[in-house]
């Protein structure tokens, strides 16, 4: 068991005020103008909404929808490359969900695969993730089927769970410890982890059983059923809109584009992209190796549940269920995974 401490709700509010005063950026789940909850910049803990899963994930804080990689300036035949700063102001993400915090660490694998992605890790270094144990989810949640839990500490620096007039604070990483030390007066002795057991148990019960916890079975089936009619069947309803990828905490595919600002100057940017579109794999010649939606639907499942596990021994999914909630056509990852397990274990085939 990691070290724990305690923080009263009033001190949590004070802590956010301390961050503001120290010039540390704070972001957390808060209401948007259209009534949804998004992770966004906040200035007061009062704005934080903890009882709804945010519509977006945390990935934007590490891999923004668009970011400059460098700038260039042409002078005659020459070109000057102007580096963009790879250091970022400190930020605390408060009220993160365990599935979203875990996703960030899952992505550290690919972002550090032989080549270090500096923009990603510079933001990682500057950010402290203060996660709140999840109160429980809906029918699309399945974190426990991918090795996580509503109170998983993975990817978090601190994990808070409610108890009495405040929160039991689990110190998960040295970075979390540093934060507690720096604001020691805000933390106190209080209830221990045991006091949060009922809360954690309720949350766990709410997400269990939505997908069989058989990631190895899923992986083995996907690896051996590339041409299965199942993919064509599920792809029929898919519009290729990529809403699943945009809302996904682990979908990280990106595009690199040049955008001129003037005749001689411009920016090379990295932008979010999605494997659900035709353009993603289309060659300049017009040849498209992944030529229809069937292959694209398969790719998303394959990447998450087979390719990533084979490569990094990690599942590229944290069971947050956003893709199912966001899909305009009712494509549902819990159903897909459940059916794969059923097919793999001989209890059903393509409908």
């Amino acid at each position: 068991m990691s070290t724990t401490t305690f923080i009263r709700t009033a001190d949590l509010k004070g802590l956010v005020a301390d961050f503001n005063a120290a010039g540390i950026g704070v972001a957390g789940p808060a209401r948007t103008s259209d009534g949804a909850v998004d992770y966004q910049s906040i200035t007061s803990f009062d704005a934080v909404v903890l009882d709804a899963q945010p519509r977006n994930s945390l990935k934007q804080f590490f891999l923004p929808p668009t970011e400059p990689l460098f700038k260039y300036a042409r002078q005659g035949q020459d070109v000057a490359i102007l580096e963009v700063p790879m250091s970022f102001p400190p930020r605390v993400l408060i009220g993160a969900r365990p599935c979203d915090a875990a996703a960030v660490e899952v992505l550290d694998r690919v972002m550090n695969w032989d080549y270090k992605d500096e923009p990603w890790f510079a933001r990682r270094d500057a950010t402290t993730i203060v996660t709140f144990a999840c109160p429980g989810g809906d029918r699309s949640c399945f974190c426990t089927a991918v090795g996580l839990a509503p109170d998983a500490t993975r990817g978090s620096d601190l994990l808070l769970a409610p108890a009495g007039d405040g929160y039991v604070v689990e110190i998960v990483t040295p970075k979390g410890q540093k934060l507690v030390d720096a604001y020691a007066k805000r933390f106190a002795t209080g209830a221990g982890v045991d006091a949060t057991k009922a809360y954690r148990d309720t949350a766990r019960a709410s997400v269990e059983g939505h997908v069989p916890a058989r990631p190895d079975v899923i992986r083995a089936w996907v690896e051996t059923h590339f041409e299965d009619p199942f993919w064509a069947e599920i792809s029929m309803r898919c519009h290729g809109c990529g809403g699943c990828a945009a809302s996904c905490p682990t979908c990280h595919c990106f595009d690199i584009v040049d955008e001129p600002e003037t005749l001689t100057e411009g920016v090379r940017r990295r932008n979010w992209d999605t494997c659900q579109t035709s353009l993603f794999t289309m060659h300049a010649s017009g040849h498209n190796p992944r030529h229809d939606q069937c292959g694209r639907c398969r790719q998303r499942v394959n990447h998450k549940f087979a390719i990533y596990p084979a490569r990094f021994n990690d599942i590229l999914c944290t069971g947050c269920g956003r893709c199912a909630r966001t899909c305009p056509a009712g494509q549902d990852v819990t159903e897909i995974l459940t059916r794969i397990v059923a097919m793999a274990t001989g209890q059903g085939g393509a409908a």
Binding site: I81, D114, E118, I256, M282, P289, G295, A310
Partner: protein, 276 residues
């Protein structure tokens, strides 16, 4: 300097290979990088025109020839069109080298058969140069190269040089109807010419690159000649952005072309799903 920031390279020379294919010889602006830069035969890079974007090609020159790199490209999209507009002296970007390479050391002491079609000669040419520059490390060298027509043959001066060498067996061919009155090479499709050339399979390696249909019909010929799948090497291309395993674009089933490739054996290719 982050991993997505390219080296600056200057165009030293432009060679028009065909009506729509050009070779650029590029030199690194920074003398330090020019000195240190090294790569292996078969590796690729991300070439860029500032303002247009990046594009993926193999390095078409040989690592045995230091101080510059070359790329050959066909004008098809946004970046290659912008590359076509560049002049000698213009500065481009280059990131790399990325990916795996041909197993040159393993190939030492063996015969090598090169088979290429159209602009597929570019990645093969890198290996041909490498082999010819270390000629004593290899036994028989056979090159079979074909294009649609005489006008579509790339690296014409080098074909001439290779043809003159007594230690290279060169077979050039054009598709029926693509010949000119003074054409002295073969007329016919690459698989048939490979069969005609009939290189021996014993202690041999085949390096093949070209249009999918050429590869499809050449593989059975090579197998008939006795080549085993682990001795047939090819290089794949797929749309890429990062080149370093992050952007998620170049998967063929479980394989990342940018990290596991671009060089694959026919045995590895046979295991890949039909997604390229």
């Amino acid at each position: 300097m982050n991993v997505y920031q390219p080296f600056r390279v200057r165009i030293e020379e432009r060679i028009d290979e065909t009506a729509d294919t050009r070779t650029l010889r590029l030199k690194f602006l920074d003398p330090d990088i020019a000195e240190k830069f090294d790569f292996k035969a078969g590796q690729f890079g991300e070439y860029s025109v500032f303002g247009a974007g990046e594009c993926t090609f193999c390095i078409a020159s040989s690592p045995t020839r230091k101080g510059y790199i070359e790329c050959s490209f066909k004008t098809v999209g946004k970046v290659t069109s912008a590359m076509k507009d560049l002049e000698v002296g213009d500065v481009m970007g280059f990131r790399g080298p990325y990916g795996n390479a041909f197993p040159m050391e393993q190939m030492h002491g063996g015969n090598v058969v090169f088979i290429a079609g159209g602009i597929g000669l570019a990645p093969v040419r890198c290996v041909i140069w490498n082999v010819l520059d270390e000629r004593n490390k290899f036994k028989d060298v056979t090159i079979v190269y074909g294009a649609r027509s005489v006008a579509d043959l790339v690296y014409k001066r080098e074909l001439e040089d290779w043809g003159k060498r007594p230690d290279v067996k060169l077979w050039t061919t054009v598709d029926p109807g693509g010949e000119t009155p003074d054409w002295k090479g073969q007329v016919g499709f690459v698989p048939a010419i490979v069969e005609k050339a009939s290189p021996k399979a014993d202690n041999s390696w085949a390096v093949i690159c070209g249009p999918p249909v050429m590869i499809k019909y050449t593989l059975p010929v090579l197998k008939k000649l006795g080549f085993t799948e682990d001795r047939i090497l090819t290089t794949l291309e797929n749309r890429m952005k990062c080149g370093i395993g992050k952007c998620g674009r170049c998967n063929i089933g479980p394989v990342y072309v940018c990290k596991d490739g671009p060089v694959f054996t026919a045995a590895e290719m046979a295991k890949l799903p039909n997604e390229f």
